[in-house]
């Protein structure tokens, strides 16, 4: 336990000092930390899920407080809580259903294999199963026809049947924890694989001889564009430099290194260039429950320009960026004001800041993020496919439990 606590302290420290940046890195660190928290957590015999939830919540609150602006931390904590709840539900229902459905398990040898190696079974499958059995099915699962939704409950019950009869509490405990960790591993896998998942869809969205505008730097966007390039699509990229941090410069460098035709423009030239652009693609910092986007500063301007010229405005976001909260006062509360030294040189302007001589009237505001309202967004591309802004709340309902929205 002490080493987990020190790990938590260290991570909290890093978050506080803003030493970790980028939502994917943060999300990954958070979920890995939570995995070790869960694995080190001693679980009582009764009500194990509650114990796990409490432990994760306690750590999660610390993490969220350390950097409330980095929404990915909260998202991942809620995802993990959701996994725990789902596993718990599936286990209890399985235990109950195991008795009823004992004879119903007429499945073939695959189930037998799984039955032997039951603990190795993917928790996500179980979770999906639980989702489909215990909740109203999501639109997506309904549309997809979900062949596994029918089979999996049986599998789990059939897997459990040999054990559940003799199931003593301890094995159940071990199973819950194990399943949760399995689910968290799945989440880690999902987060680290989101770039590829999103990039795979690039070919459907980027067409020959198009002009793409992007703003700031996002690894997702880079992978997305490169994936299209690899598929022999030839297109041009305009990169708005993303003042004052100028991360667009870095993106342009990487794009050129990968052989894309790249043009750097100033942020203020976005409106001038937008009429030549076929599509705007940006990476999000977070996607809110109403479909609004928090992205690098200047994004709202690009979105408005795109709207004005009827250019599709596409936002790429891994599922860890989906935030179950609704934005309230997003320009301020979900923003971070950074040091004015990124904008101007302190030395040069020090005479304008001389409070003693009465000339200290210069104020500098340097927000990091911009909020784009949902009506300006044409399409979200997540690792599960493309979605409308109005569909976001539904996706979020799939990933999060309503109990965890307020931590």
């Amino acid at each position: 336990m002490p080493d987990v606590q020190s790990m938590v302290a260290e991570f909290v420290n890093k978050l506080r000092k803003r030493k970790i940046e980028g939502s994917q890195a943060t999300a990954k660190c958070t979920v890995e930390l939570l995995r070790s928290v869960i694995s080190h957590q001693r679980v009582p015999h009764a009500n194990q899920a509650a114990a796990l939830i409490d432990a994760v919540k306690a750590v999660g609150q610390q993490l969220v407080a350390a950097n409330p602006v980095e929404l990915a931390v909260g998202n991942v904590v809620r995802r993990v809580l959701h996994i725990i709840r789902e596993e718990d539900l599936s286990l209890t229902t399985a235990a109950m259903a195991g008795l009823d459905l004992l004879d119903a398990s007429d499945d073939d040898d695959i189930d037998n294999c799984k039955g032997i190696g039951y603990p190795a079974m993917s928790a996500a499958v179980v979770a999906a199963a639980a989702r489909s059995t215990l909740r109203p099915p999501s639109l997506q699962t309904l549309l997809e026809g979900t062949p596994e939704s029918a089979t999996v409950p049986y599998t789990s019950s059939s897997g459990a049947d040999s054990e559940s009869k003799t199931a003593d509490k301890s094995s159940l405990t071990r199973k819950l924890k194990h399943d949760v960790i399995e689910g968290v591993n799945q989440l880690i896998h999902e987060i680290s694989g989101c770039h590829e998942q999103i990039a795979e869809q690039a070919i459907e969205h980027i067409h020959q001889n198009e002009v793409i505008l992007t703003l700031g730097s996002s690894r997702t966007v880079l992978e997305f564009l490169c994936a299209a390039k690899e598929k022999k699509r030839s297109f041009r990229v305009f990169v708005a430099e993303g003042a004052p941090r100028y991360q667009g410069h870095l993106l342009a460098k990487e794009l050129v290194a990968r052989g894309l035709q790249t043009t750097v423009i100033t942020d203020s030239a976005v409106f001038a260039m937008i009429s030549r652009v076929n599509m705007v693609i940006i990476g999000a910092h977070a996607v809110m429950a109403n479909g609004g986007v928090i992205g690098p500063v200047g994004v709202n301007m690009a979105a408005l320009a795109a709207k004005k010229h009827a250019v599709p405005f596409v936002v790429l976001a891994g599922s860890h960026k989906l935030c179950p909260l609704y934005p309230h006062n997003p320009e301020v509360l979900l923003n971070e004001l950074r040091s004015p030294s990124e904008l101007l040189d302190f030395g040069e302007f020090s005479d304008c800041l001389d409070f003693g001589a009465g000339s200290g009237s210069l104020q500098v505001v340097n927000p990091t993020f911009d909020y784009v309202p949902p009506n300006l967004v044409s399409l979200f591309i997540t690792d599960t496919g493309g979605h409308n802004p109005s569909y976001m709340y539904r996706l979020i309902a799939d990933y999060y439990s309503a109990d965890d929205l307020v931590m």
């Binding site: 506080r16 000092k17 030294s341 040189d345 030395g347 800041l353 009465g358 104020q363």
Partner: protein, 728 residues
Amino acid sequence: MGAQKKGGGGARVSEDAEEQSHQRLQAILLADSFATKFRPVTLERPKVLLPIVNVPMIDYTLAWLEYAGIEEVFVFCCAHSIQIIEYLEKSEWYSHPNLVVRTIESHKSISAGDALRYMYEQQTETSQIQGDFVLVSGDTVSNMPLADLIQEHRERKKKDEKAIMTMVIKQSKSSSLTHQSRLGTDQLFIAVDPLTKQLLHYEEDKIDHPRGSVCLDKSLLESNPSVLVCNDMQDCYIDICSPEVLSLFEDNFDYQHLRRHFVKGVLVDDIMGYKIFTHEIHSSYAARIDNFRSYDTVSKDIIQRWTFPYVPDINFSGNRPLKLGRQGIYRACDVIQSRSADVGASSVIGYGTKIGDGDKILNSVIGNGCSIGSNVVIEGSYIWNNVTIEDGCEIRNAIVSDGVKIRAGAVLQPGVVLSFNVVVGRDFVVPAYSKVSLLQQPTTEDSDEELEYADSSSRTADHLSGLNLQMESKASELGPDGAGYIWEVCEGAHDEEWKHSVAPIPEDKLAEITQAIDDDDTDDESVVPTSGELKSDADSINTDMNDPNDDYYDFEKEVEGTVLRAVEENIKVDLVTLEINGLRLSYNMESADCAGATFYSMMKLAVDTPHNSASELYKNAASIITKWKELLGFYVKKIDEQIEVIMKFEEMCQESPKELGPLFTQILHLLYDKDVLQEDAILRWAEEKAGADEADKVYLKQCETFIQWLKEASEEEDEDDEDEEEDD
């Protein structure tokens, strides 16, 4: 012994073993400024624990050091060391995973120099400082990265053994009117080698320094191909030091101040040849809170987020983060604020604070647990924790410490500082720039040096306990229901008060300075008013010198004493010459001055010797001149020097016309006879004097016949010469 080293728990011992493997990044943090600028507040609480935007200063410094990758900090505590140690023990710093905080106590240190000497002594016992270290004071607010700078310092040190220190500077323009930086310190002049960044000259300009001129050593310009002189730099008081710095302090026990003594000492010292380098930071922030003005400035910089990530809405050191709203207003989540209250831009309001109806709060910082009545105006002020302000008060540009009560209708004028638990009476007006404390102003003040703290914390405690009795007996200086003493401003500092106050410089003061500068310009237009002007070395000598006449007078006295002794003890002429030469060098005089002074002392001797008549006086003079003519002859080899002697003699005669006056011609003749004076000298003197006023011509007329005779003699000689020439 107040000395006592506090190690941490047992966990740290194991870490010591690892220290050998890599050089730990270490820092010395002086948790004492060794100054009295924050009095009276610092009488009760150490400066590093004073809150700046609701967080103690030392937390900013420690958080920054930790962020910059420093692994071990030695906190040097002096005044109120118990409070500092208690605070650190309670804070999260003592159990921080990445930063080891050790405290060192010494009550005997009265300056930064003493502190470092103490560290050096301790070091030999426990070998604490292993290599290069960062030296900062506990009132530094910064977010600059240090690791690269330390690396740079180490590499430079490897190449050049003598590069012992790297000093951090930052561009910051100082006001052209007051010659004061925005931090309220005096304008700084530094000269740097633009290529190597070596520091060549360091001068904290005083405001009364003549018109912003700076004197550089000539050799500086000779030995360096180019020199960059800046007056728009701010010294951040962040130094990367090699261990030699500690031993230098040990060797030079008179080094007290880090800059005034140490840096200047190193720059002047040619023998050891140690060098100091500078490092200019651009994008990051660094400043030291040195006085109330810088307290104000740095607070505003923090609110304006120049110190990011050390800003109130980020929890960087266990502080409870505030919420940042629109217009840069930081507010705790549990603030109770009346709807009719108006909280203006760039304000900070701490936890548990209540703000009443109709309050106006602008540009101010309000701490935790304060309660503010209705219709209060607070502008540009710093209210610390648990302050009670009753209805209708007006507070402008003031600092109000913990636990203060301000009764209804009281007014604090700009620049007021209220120390802990002061009570301001009903409707009382605290005059501008006054400092108020429950403690009486210490009477024994070291006025010339800024040293503080002969008093240990125990004495302060005594003060406090005896205080209530005193207060009851004595009617308060802050109205009938108030409590506290208004400190008198020490003489001399009265004019300076506005420079270092939290209040901005008042308009009329600025106008006054502008006026003064304009007047100066009309008086003497040759001086270019830009600061940073260079003056040649020769000029500087003259300006540095005291009045030359004073010097000459002293010199004359010395020579007189020497001659008198020589006559009394009958010392050989050679030795007397040697002695006078020595005096000449030490007073920087010319040989003409020596001649004048020597002759003067001889004549004085003659006059002082008892005599009855003029002839007796003449005899005395003649005997002295005869005896010591060689001495005089040594200095009167040139005509100019001989003329100087005659002038001196004339001067003496004018001073005592009755005694010496009648003898002028006789003695002049005697001097001529004894070959002390040549006829050319006498003739030239006569020529010069011919054009003078009638009054001055008294002695010229007196010796007219003598001169006539001389002229004739010389003409004859000239004729002879001409004859000879013609003969050739």
